[in-house]
């Protein structure tokens, strides 16, 4: 690999990594920090790129692991700020206000209420348009498991939307 440039080889991955990190941490500043760490890590390992089949998948794996570390350190293991229960919202820690929640769309709240793995899979499939195989490799699980998690996620979203309606 000759003439490797950070600008052309690594930076273009940024936005996709950011969206994944944002879906996990649900905080823009934290997500940007995660992306920064990830891109630097990928760049540091450029001498080994030839041994990596898919650079983007490699970067996404690092990104997800770092984002999970962030929420674990912050004590937000599932990263869900609020819990969804049949479309009814309950306060967690008593910090969120009803007005603030209403600013956020119903879909976002439903998605944010999903367990991390379901949320990540929904992000990778529905927003990033990845195949089941790519997602399975990224998360190191089977394609069947990917479909099971995705089915659970979509079912919860569907129910949430129908109850609200």
């Amino acid at each position: 690999m000759e003439n490797i440039s950070f600008r052309t080889a690594v930076l273009p991955l940024g936005d996709r990594l950011f969206r994944l990190a944002l879906r996990i941490t649900m905080n823009r500043a934290e997500a940007e920090d995660v992306v920064q760490d990830t891109l630097l890590k990928v760049w540091e390992q450029r001498s080994q790129w030839e041994q990596i089949n898919n650079l983007e998948a490699f970067a996404l794996t690092i990104c997800r692991n770092r984002a999970l570390d962030v929420i674990k350190r912050a004590g937000r293991n599932t990263a869900s700020l609020d819990k969804v229960d049949n479309g009814q919202w309950s306060m967690v820690n008593g910090q969120s206000t009803l007005e603030a929640r209403e600013q956020i769309s119903l879909v976002r709240r439903l998605m944010d209420g999903l367990p991390e793995v379901q949320r990540t899979i929904m992000q990778l499939r529905d927003i990033e348009g990845m195949t089941y195989q790519e997602i399975a490799q990224l998360l190191d699980i089977s394609e069947t498991q990917v479909k099971v998690y995705l089915h659970r996620a979509r079912t919860k979203i569907r129910k949430g939307l129908e109850i609200r309606d």
Partner: protein
């Protein structure tokens, strides 16, 4: 209008049986304003996912990263959208490079011209020295410039003995 196809597609979407192409059809369908009431509750999902797909890093993130890894940021101070163009800093040497090239070309042409002129002059001088006719200043000249004959004169000298020979033969 019959929405049976969309309804079937949506049902398969919930069951994770749709392909990415079929999901794209659903997305396109729900982007339109005119959606039947029975499908309206699900429109928000696809609209929101479109918005989420457009989320991106802050504008100064790119320049910050480039400075961290020691690569030059945009010279214009703005973002190079999509990384389509690569800004390069021009050094003095690089900026003057076209002039160097032009000067070099002129030098080569002058050298060749001078060499050709010198070679031609030397040839003429050598020819004079060897007694061969040569053209100098547009006129033919003979050895040492001492004998310079005109074409008419040469013709007369050549024809006189030839006529004498013919006369002798006829007799």
């Amino acid at each position: 209008m019959d929405y049976k196809y969309i309804e079937q597609l949506l049902e398969r979407y919930w069951e994770c049986q749709t392909t990415r192409e079929e999901e794209a059809i659903l997305r396109t369908f729900f982007r339109q304003e005119d959606v039947p009431a029975s499908l309206l509750p699900y429109r928000q999902l696809f609209i929101e996912e479109d918005i989420m797909a457009g989320e991106h890093l802050s504008k100064d993130f790119q320049d910050k990263m480039l400075s961290m890894v020691g690569e030059e940021a945009s010279l214009l101070g703005g973002r190079l959208e999509g990384g389509c163009c690569k800004a390069r800093r021009l050094t003095v040497v690089r900026r003057l490079r076209p002039f160097y090239r032009a000067a070099g070309l002129v030098a080569i042409l002058l050298t060749i011209g001078n060499a050709a002129h010198q070679s031609f002059t030397e040839d003429a001088q050598q020819a004079i020295d060897n007694g061969q006719p040569s053209m100098v200043n547009g006129q033919w000249s003979m050895v040492n410039d001492s004998v310079t004959t005109q074409p008419e004169q040469q013709s007369a000298e050549l024809t006189t003995p030839t006529i004498d020979t013919l006369n002798a033969l006829t007799r």
